[in-house]
């Protein structure tokens, strides 16, 4: 985004906030807190020491669940994509598990791991594992056979072929898959925290409502989730600017 586009976005957000404020203050029924009340909520959370604590708690769970899934799913998906027969054999199973929302696993994960961090991490892991597996499988299928043949021609061993050709060839698609999956993981952590733990931004939202209808804190939690999600996405997008990956995103 260039500076004019940035300015335009900032102005638009400011206008929307103003409309929100005006609309809420002119309403007799209490539908939403005002933006100022929400900002006050964020400040209050910071003063009580909960802001950092909850954000860190949520990010902690996402990091471990997502990293664990990435470490296992990427080699797994690449292997399935490479050995087409095993990929085809496992594909029906993958397609059956895929439409099951990670949230449907909440009772089972509480049964296995109890109420706590492990449970939430497990849910993030589940939410990330299959999308990453499928991304890696498809990425292998898109590797140009010319590149594989060229690598064989230069006498590379199997492991050299994987590190010097397969990984770099799939990297651009993997980065996109990781970015989208991180978005999913962030969605799921909030839901998991509403049920399975007693800290984090998801917990903040449920707890604020239950403990005295503090809707300013509810919306503050929502705003924090959105902002952090945006920052995560910007972080992942920056990988797409790496020069050795640029080829995977250009038009020609």
């Amino acid at each position: 985004m260039n500076s004019t586009a940035r300015l335009r976005s900032a102005v638009l957000i400011a206008v929307l906030l103003a409309i929100w404020h005006v609309a809420v203050t002119h309403q007799k029924v209490h539908l939403l807190p005002t933006p100022l009340a929400v900002a006050g909520g964020v400040v209050e959370l910071a003063q009580r020491g909960l802001l950092i604590k909850y954000v860190v708690a949520s990010l902690f769970r996402v990091t471990w669940g997502f990293l664990g899934a990435a470490i296992l799913a990427i080699p797994f998906g690449l292997a399935l994509g490479w050995h087409k027969r095993s990929g085809m054999a496992l594909n029906p199973l993958i397609q059956i598990f895929r439409p099951i929302s990670p949230l449907a696993w909440i009772p089972i994960s509480i049964l296995w791991f109890g109420v706590g961090d492990m449970s939430a991490i497990f849910l993030i892991f589940l939410a990330s594992f299959l999308p990453l597996t499928v991304t890696a499988m498809n990425a292998v299928a898109n590797v140009s056979p010319v590149h594989i043949n060229a690598a064989r021609n230069f006498g590379l061993s199997q492991s050299q072929l994987v590190w010097r050709v397969l990984y770099p060839a799939v990297a651009p698609q993997l980065i996109v898959g990781l970015r989208i999956t991180l978005g999913i993981a962030w969605l799921v952590v909030v839901a998991a925290e509403m049920i399975a733990v007693n800290s984090g931004l998801g917990f903040l939202i449920v707890d604020s409502r239950n403990a005295g209808n503090r809707y300013d804190l509810v919306v503050a939690g929502m705003a924090l989730i959105g902002t952090i999600g945006l920052l995560l996405d910007i972080g992942m997008r920056s990988f797409e600017k790496i020069r050795s990956l640029r080829w995977g995103y250009s038009e020609d």
Binding site: V146, A150, P168, A169, S244, G248
Partner: protein, 272 residues
């Protein structure tokens, strides 16, 4: 410039106006046949192909699109096993690709995630860092990519990518180069430049070259011998010796004679 003359002869020479030099046999394809099974249909692509290529010889394989000449090249390079027959290089039966014989694809064969340097150095992983840098610098210069060492392929033109791929192939110092319509995707001006570049490199490095093309002019400009393939199933229809020394005058009487001969061989009238 000395001309290299094809000598491994199974077929009579049409004329003998150039000095003859006996070349050692480098590659021998014996009775190559290839049948593909597609949806329970058998497609016979190649039939009984015998070809010998001499050490340091430049052979063009010429044929209509889809005749199976690329399949033949993939077989002699070891990427595909033939249904019948066998290929030997230096008396050794070919069982797979080998770094001593490098296949040059169209420019899409370069690795887009590596820089020019990275691509040229790709096959040099057994060399020390200093030796590798030296070799890379030599071939960057040979193909005229100085100043683009750190550039990525998507920042290069089609002709530059093609030169890069040739440099990557030459860098591992192979005995044989297989080129599969390498200039097919280039514009006609770049293609002409690339041909003289390739001849210059061939004269400097003395590799055995097997070059597949569907371009009659290209084959006569480049090769010592032109192997004319028939339509599918491909057989060798005729082998034509190009007995003109380099640099070749493409308006000379002999050139036109040879060109017309091949046009007739393929059954084309050379009028548009």
């Amino acid at each position: 410039m000395a001309s290299i003359i094809a000598v491994v002869q199974k077929f009579p020479r049409t004329t003998a106006t150039s000095p003859k030099r006996q070349l050692q046999s480098k590659l021998h394809a014996e009775n190559i046949g290839m049948i593909f099974n597609r949806d329970s249909n058998c497609v016979e692509v190649l039939e009984g192909i015998d070809l010998e290529v001499g050490e340091g010889e430049f052979v063009c394989i010429l044929g209509p699109s889809g005749c199976g000449k690329s399949t033949f090249l993939n077989i002699i390079a070891g990427f595909i096993s033939p249904t019948s027959g066998q290929v030997s290089i230096d008396g050794e039966i070919v069982r797979g690709p080998d770094p001593r014989r490098i296949f040059v694809f169209q420019e899409r064969g370069v690795f887009p995630w590596l820089t020019v340097e990275g691509n040229i150095g790709f096959g040099l992983f057994k060399l020390s860092r200093a030796k590798r840098a030296e070799r890379i610098a030599h071939y960057v210069k040979l193909v005229g990519l100085e100043g683009f060492e750190k550039a990525y392929p998507h920042e290069l033109s089609g002709g530059m990518k093609q030169r890069l791929e040739v440099a990557r192939a030459l860098a591992v110092n192979p005995d044989v180069l297989f080129l599969d319509e390498p200039f097919g995707a280039l514009d006609s001006i770049t293609r002409l430049t690339m041909r003289s570049e390739l001849l210059r490199i061939w004269e400097a490095e003395r590799k055995t070259i097997v070059f597949v093309t569907h371009d009659i002019e290209e084959s006569i400009q480049l090769a010592d011998r032109v192997v004319v393939m028939s339509a599918r199933p491909a057989r060798i229809q005729r082998i034509v010796n190009i007995d003109i020394s380099h640099p070749r005058d493409i308006s000379s009487r002999r050139y036109i004679e040879l060109r017309n001969g091949i046009f007739e061989e393929i059954g084309l009238a050379h009028k548009v």
